[in-house]
Symmetry: C2
Subunit: 692 residues, 2 copies
């Protein structure tokens, strides 16, 4: 016991965080982790009963870290741990860090999926690993029995136990805890599990819920309130896993299809705002029922909730009049993050459940954009990343570690299939992929819900009774890009009526022409107005992007992330062909699905992500396109296909380029333009070859 | 401007705090006060509009403080201040410390009554000066208008203004503020007054209420919930004045007269606890209406509330089952101070109003005792102070700066007139003063509601139709002490039947005798059982006191404070004659009225008093009489009149004294006993001569 080895501390390295420190032999791995600020879950407080604190030992020599680690560097399995392993099936190689102690230099792997009782593994939600450090944690304690010599109250002895075992400095109890504490303590025979809410390190730790004995699971919800759809995930706060997901149509649609019509409804109807608030909260409550049922849990097991949404959805959900956001100066009632109790919004979860709403970036760039930003993390990158979330408007964030700028571009709803003659929302039966034979101008297409092309055998059967119903947003992009590539429309966006002589696909509509994508029942055409609507939308999107690129002083971006449903369906090559997005290596363009939902889950599972996005939003430079004269200029040029300001290589010589600001040397500018041309050509090739 | 005088700082001394510091010429007096931590109220933040920051200059040479001060040491009245003085009637000599600046060495008086609009000055409530530093303060700010270039929300710009003008480090807004902020800011043309709640320096400052423009008054309530009576004061948080007071009978009386019967009711009836909680909260709500009406204010003007009460009242008010306090180990559900929102208790004040409940000391020593302790402050004294609050039980606190001990003695309700044959609560018609002629044994008395003695001319008319109805607690004490002094009862408490031969005032009741205090309609007698009841009660009180004195190692106390209604009516000399209280200089024995209410007001007006009592309660040593074998011993000896353990001088030679613990030298003990004898004799003299 008194051997010299004992007096020397051992190096312990935690992975994947890379945090390290020296600890005396015999230190519990859990204690070492805590001292270094490595988050390892634990409910039972080191009693080897909750099984939450699992870790693995990495063996071998880690040259980079100058450390060798072996099984002998950790203590042998003791009786408590063996009992847990036997009763609860500890996976091979896993150890309980509360019981295992440091015996030598050691590399410890903190499995990010360390889970007990994870019944359901969801494929629906993004499987990204989120480091857990939730604002709500479960803490099991053994509480002193009442003592007439030291007549402290039940709550006070509970606080003392929590302070002693869990190191909380200041603790307060929610009011509703006061009349639960007596029965919880006595029913649990002086053991209870308390849920503690602490959003910031210097916050008072708040006891928000209480159960007799050991409670080994707690949940949170992450919810993205879209104008059209509300999406909710039920997440285990202990394992981080998504255990259930559900979505519903935003019932506010009955008050107005788009955002501005909902604001108008509020302005016209004194009870419009309360009615819409009530409607959205009711639908959210139904979604809670759904995910709770699917996850097999009670509402009372839900202790935390994170919400995101665009500014109008955000205000209506919170019960705030959105009228001010409807017109200049687009003043938000509140832009910072919101902390409240679920009860404040009459949301029936656990009575102590908390609620967090991500900050809004600007009057047109909401908490959903903040969540997308948090998810994709331009502010965590060295490279210049463009994040685009296309809905009724397009929120655009461009930046890197150094600097982030953001804006909203008024694209209108064309990208969502609205304002398009045969447009529809993305749903089974909607055309989502289109190819046009360059010589014959004959089209073929694919619809949502089928893997077959329209000229494949069995297409009709595959589509079934739904039939082909219209064109969704991504289909619109493709058909117009293909029409352009096939020479049906000019760079000015005019459908070439002369082609009517060559093919029956081009038909006259009086003074303009249309392209017939599908001839019969129903006939689906692309009209000149459809092309104009997409031109306007893409010009707005591109002009906003260009504006931000100018603010950043860049002519290309290093990576592009498309968030949202539109982004999920769009083929990036066609987006680039049409000039929706700026010059970028096609391999670095990706669709990221419901990034807003992912950002909400991040904020739910790790309170440091809350600080991260609050800090990021504070320093984001907000660009209001309406105040930028250059926006209008970019917009006009960007009406061309693809864009006059940054055209396709093959158009480069044909159109008259406006004088453009060249940053860096001319030579560098020339090199940039050359690379840009190459990429554009590659995109056109990719577009040509895809779907083959 | 650049004269040497300018470069030298001036000494500024604030009275009555005595805080001092050096400040450059031109420093606003308000800023100097803030820097030194001298609390000067200000709502408008130095705009010379609220008039809250009034101070006076003291003129002359203050040798003790080595400073000379004159009218020239302060700047002349400027235009803003002159405008305020003209419009709002600044009293002569008063200056606005936000506008007046340091011009030389200066003694500044911060008037503790600095008031604007104090319509009502109450005589009812204790006129003690309480230094103000409330948990809720009003802060007027001018908020930036919305700016599209910096799209911060209304709440966020409000926070920024509050941080800038008032120095708050972390600010959060209550949820209900979010949908008020838009109209408040626009209605006030970008000026608002925010109510900020901050109970501790390291708490997040919370915006709890908001008004357009300047709001110059805010109120709080201080409420003592007694088993019998609920008393409430409405207090200006800005001036500290009590602007209205009201009281009501505790409606829980219909569920049970005394505490234990209410606990029994809860145990026997499943809906007993909710019913009693509802009843007391409803009555409190009615009292709020009363004081608000009397003070001419709205409920929404009430922003903070402090409650005290004994443990059972405390639990029932908070909605907690009090059953556990009804039996050993007398476990409180919560003993520490409680911070909540008034809304948590469905108490309708301002929607953001906060609530604070003082800590309980032990299972039988509640938040009311804590409030009495805060009010009388044994822990602030060098001398050993005994604080006694007699109700159904007697809460006893004994201590000084060094050490404080506390206990509850089971006196039963005899002191309140219960268990006494002709006993009644203190009310008009109740006998409260009694004298018995030593020779004839004829009594005379006075009743509540009349200044005349029963043998004075016009007594019957003065008493009127109410008549003489019974004896209240203080009357019981006096009649039994007088009976003892007149030789009617022995030191063992036996009514001397032999005297029946001498006077018709002594009558036989079978095996015992009674003394007839009043002969006709109704006849009021003091029976042997009445004497026994008082003997038991006083023995319990004295034994508890004696126990605490032993814990402190003292044989006498330096000062005695009687709190509560019983204490207000009792004549301290008679209390000492009967042996209710230990040996003490009679001049240092005083009744302090509703000290619990005073303590509640202190906690309302100064958040540092909250910390003071929390800290004091933590360190108070709690003595449970049931666990102390010595208590029973003291109790038995104290049954004698006055007490065998510490008897009256004239009895000292007659009764056999038990061996007693003598602290310090025998000589000192002898000296103590000699002084004790003198004081007792003086008390008997005083009793003999009073009412003459």
């Amino acid at each position: 016991m008194n051997a010299p080895a004992n007096t020397e501390d051992h190096l312990v390295l935690f992975m994947p965080s890379g945090k390290r420190g020296r600890f005396p032999k015999g230190t519990a791995i859990l204690d070492a982790a805590r001292e270094l600020g490595v988050y390892v879950e634990s409910v039972c407080g080191g009693r080897a009963t909750c099984g939450r604190c699992q870790i693995e030992v990495q063996e071998g020599h880690f040259a980079k870290h100058k450390i060798s680690s072996s099984k002998d560097s950790i203590s042998a399995v003791g009786p408590k741990e063996a009992r847990y392993a036997e009763k609860r099936n500890l996976p091979a190689g896993r150890r309980l860090s509360c019981s295992a102690t440091v015996q030598g230099d050691l590399v410890v792997d903190v499995p990010q999926d360390a889970i007990v009782n994870a019944q359901v593994v969801r494929k629906d939600a993004d499987q990204r690993i989120i480091h857990r450090h939730p604002a709500v944690q479960l803490c099991y304690v053994e509480v002193d029995e009442p003592d007439m010599h030291k007549p402290l109250g039940d709550v006070d002895r509970l606080k003392a136990a929590l302070a002693k075992d869990w190191g909380f400095k200041r603790l307060e109890a929610d009011f509703h805890i006061l009349n639960q504490v007596q029965s919880a303590l006595r029913q649990g025979e002086w053991t209870v599990t308390a849920a503690i809410h602490q959003d910031q390190d210097d916050d008072v730790a708040q006891i928000i819920a209480l159960w007799p004995g050991l409670k080994n699971e707690a949940y949170g919800i992450a919810c993205d309130i879209g104008s059209t759809t509300i999406a909710m995930h039920l997440v285990s706060l202990l394992s981080g896993r998504v255990v259930a997901s559900a979505g519903a149509t935003n019932p506010q649609i009955r008050f107005g299809e788009d955002l501005m019509s909902r604001v108008s409804y509020v302005m016209m109807n004194p009870d419009g705002r309360p009615a819409m608030t009530k409607a959205v909260r009711l639908e959210i409550s139904k979604l809670v029922d759904k995910v709770a049922a699917e996850g097999g849990i009670e509402r009372a097991d839900i202790l935390d909730a994170v919400f995101v949404g665009n500014p109008i959805m955000h205000h209506l959900f919170l019960g705030i009049d959105p009228t001010e956001i409807g017109g200049a100066p687009f003043a938000l009632a509140v832009s910072g993050a919101i902390k409240a109790r679920a009860e404040d919004l009459r949301l029936s979860l656990n009575p102590g459940a908390r609620l967090y709403v991500l900050p809004c970036i600007a009057g047109h760039v909401g908490a959903d954009s903040a969540a997308v930003t948090l998810s994709e993390g331009p502010h965590r990158q060295d490279e210049m990343m463009l994040v685009v979330d296309v809905g009724t408007n397009a929120e655009i964030v461009l930046g890197n570690r150094e600097r982030v700028v953001a804006a909203s571009s008024p694209t209108g709803p064309a990208f969502e299939g609205a304002e398009i003659s045969s447009g529809q929302r993305a749903a089974p039966g909607a055309i989502e992929r289109v190819r046009i034979e360059r010589e014959t101008l004959e089209p073929r297409f694919r619809v949502i819900g089928s893997e077959l092309w329209s000229d494949d055998e069995g297409f009709a059967e595959a589509v079934g009774s739904t039939g082909v119903t219209g064109i969704c947003g991504s289909g619109i992009i493709e058909v117009i890009a293909e029409m352009y590539l096939a020479g049906i429309i000019s760079e000015d966006g005019v459908i070439d009526g002369a082609l009517a002589a060559k093919t029956s696909r081009i038909i006259s509509e009086g003074r303009t022409y249309s392209y017939v994508l599908k001839e019969h029942a129903p006939r689906i055409t692309v009209t000149q107005n459809d092309v104009r609507a997409i031109q306007l939308a893409k010009a707005a999107l591109y002009a906003g992007t260009k504006l931000l690129m100018e603010k950043q002083g860049v002519e290309t971006v290093d990576a592009i992330r498309f968030a949202g449903a539109f982004g999920s369906f769009i083929d990036p090559s066609y987006a680039m062909v049409l000039g929706l997005i700026p010059d970028c290596d096609l391999n670095k363009v990706s669709a990221v699905g419901n990034a807003a939902g992912t950002g909400a889950r991040m904020a739910l599972l790790n309170r440091q992500h809350r600080r991260e996005i609050e800090e990021t939003v504070r320093r984001v430079e907000k660009i209001e396109t309406a105040l930028e004269p250059k926006f209008q200029e970019h917009f006009v040029y960007a009406m061309a296909l693809p864009n006059k300001v940054d055209p396709f290589p093959k158009l480069a010589e044909q159109v008259e380029l406006p004088p453009r600001k060249v940053l860096g040397s001319d030579e560098a500018g020339g090199e940039r333009r050359r690379r840009s041309r190459e990429r554009r050509a590659k995109a056109a090739d990719a577009a040509k070859n895809s779907g083959g």
